[in-house]
Symmetry: none
Subunit: 207 residues, 4 copies
DNA sequence: AATGAATGAGCGTTCATTCAT
DNA sequence: GATGAATGAACGCTCATTCAT
């Protein structure tokens, strides 16, 4: 196997050098480092070293360090949106659907906590255009949940004296802040927290 | 009014060169810039230029750029803690006290949104020792609210099947995320949002 | 020859922009400037300007300004040690070997006066760890000479009533201070001073 | 006793705040710090803090940080010169006088090692004019010793085949390098080293 | 596809010195 | 005599990005 002068492997899959393709490896490593140290305290050199590639390789796949951040966001938004749609569109009663959606968003947020932490810490560092894109996607996500609440309000299952918008902001605030306290090795699993949070949401909407 | 060659006022109180002492002026300017651009995208040069002083003056009062961030946190934590204590210790019924505390923390957070935004975006950039101090203070704050919920649970005013800890994390998550959507010129004032959020909290705790 | 807007050569080997590789060029330039102006009065900017590269290039090869100093030391210590070993290990009589070693160390010190001047002026500015390394290497050097003197004392060629250690400190003191008075264009050459100093050393050791 | 807001004594002789006048205290403190840390790594702030005065006070007595260094030199040169004159002008035989002078210069150098260390490390940082003054004084000192050697050479007490100049440079080199190895708590006292060094000098001059 | 030397602008910080009080 | 807030120029160093190979 070829070895460069610096002793790092240049080809083939060495031990610890997973078979994952380079772009995915870079994204995974960047996600971990950004979550651990913050976006701006992580240098491109650190990322490529940890991924076992060179700067040139990184700039071959990603236009900039910024781009790496954007791709992390895009990936997580894509995943979450897909999951949510399927939960919201079942033919269960509206309160059960809202509960399922709420519990699921909490569980998946807990499962991908690094992404959420990076998201809320670093989105302001993104280029304004990309920030706008990300925000728009997130808004579509929120609106799907708001529609669910309004459906329940119209049918009398939920109280109608609270703005659905406000309830969405209330609930997603709680979800997005999981990163400050939730620990994988804590008392509750992500699914358990999801059930509890969904219970609290539903309780606050009881007529 | 006299103006030096560099264009800065050398005597009298010009616009932006107010009579406010230099340290306070630096803190106010830094808060605004950190909220607008982020801590790491704000240079010390920008801060001192905006405050109308030189770097030397800033380093006379603050040990580092980090220190500026810490002082912003310390100030807001001190204020919030004081307000909260007085609301939690009144002799009203426990549900009224929790409502008052919850509404107040939302209203003051909305009133000092810059501080909160900076706080959750940039705390990881603070020196670990200072981070620990800040976290400890914030924990004391949360624990006062948890005690209030537990008091209500023991007296049967609140449902007892939900962990008070979890409810605190749920609610404060919502509060701490105000910065992502609340706007001073939006539909609702900070006090109005406070009342709505407190209502939702109390509703979710109904037995 | 092409010249960029900044006035630096972009192709071909200009005066001062020789074909010597960048790290060597930096080391040579730094040695000269440190000797002329002192380590701390020489800025990194001066060094890179004189070497015709940018700061980034320098920091690509050297970890710090300190490192540059250390490399200067390491290089001269390596050279001196090698020369000395070969002179000390010949099979001539011990007094001739000591004379040869003494004369050679003076001559090579005179030939590389800049390094010696920098060495004794600036070693205290080096990182403590690197200082320790340098001191250890220098001690090995002194001990080889001490062994030579002790050998002569045991065989009766040298007087035995003076501590070999002290004689080494005495002699090397004289050598290391060449920088304060020796001039390349002075009355005596480095080799001539070497012979005289070695004579004085041997005379002082006569039984 | 008056105490400033920062808690430092502002008047009277506190414990550790010797009765020595301010300029002397500053000089003593500066000498210690320069020897310990080097001239350029010692800030004016450190000096005035250690001396228990303020910057204003220091600049009242000394024109600059440079001045402090110069005064340290001037003081030590004045002292050494005075001692040497009296030893060189006795009416003992010339070899005894040279021995006495040599032993004395070593002993006083050992007794004031800090000054010597600073001297040879930092003289190049002095303003050229002051450097010239210091060098001139030092040259007068060396010339007195050279005259002594030449006197002995003329009278046949010392070998005449070695340049007196060179012998002076040889010997003073050894003396000025005491700082790199002599320790107050080492095997030999300054006086003992003085006797040994003088012995070696005289031995090397035997016809 | 990938390298890694080199760029260049900018960063946070230091510090001897000044001066109104 | 003495203060200490403020200056301002310089410093060592970092880093995302480029480009000849």
């Amino acid at each position: 196997m070829a070895r460069a002068a610096n002793g790092r492997t240049t080809a083939g899959a060495a031990v610890g050098d997973s078979v994952e393709p380079v772009p995915q490896r870079l994204l995974a490593v960047a996600t971990r480092l950004f979550a651990e140290q913050g976006f701006e305290m992580t240098s491109v050199q650190q990322i490529v070293d940890a991924a076992g590639v060179t700067k040139g390789a990184m700039y071959h796949y990603f236009g900039s360090k910024d781009d790496l951040l954007y791709e992390i966001y895009a990936r997580v938004l894509r995943d979450q949106h897909a999951r949510m749609e399927s939960a919201a569109d079942s033919d269960a009663p509206v309160d059960e659907r809202l509960h399922a959606v709420a519990a699921d968003v909490v569980a998946t947020t807990a499962a991908n906590l690094d992404d959420t932490v990076i998201f809320f810490r670093s989105m302001h560092l993104l280029h304004p255009d990309k920030q706008a894109e990300v925000r728009a996607e997130r808004r579509r996500y929120h609106e799907r949940v708001r529609a669910l609440i309004e459906e329940g309000q119209r049918s009398g299952v939920f109280r109608a004296d609270k703005s659905a918008d406000l309830v969405v902001d209330f609930f997603f605030g709680a979800v997005h802040h999981l990163g400050t306290w939730f620990r994988k090795d804590g008392k509750l699993t992500g699914e358990e927290v999801g059930k509890e949070f969904a219970d609290l949401l539903l309780a606050s909407l009881r007529p």
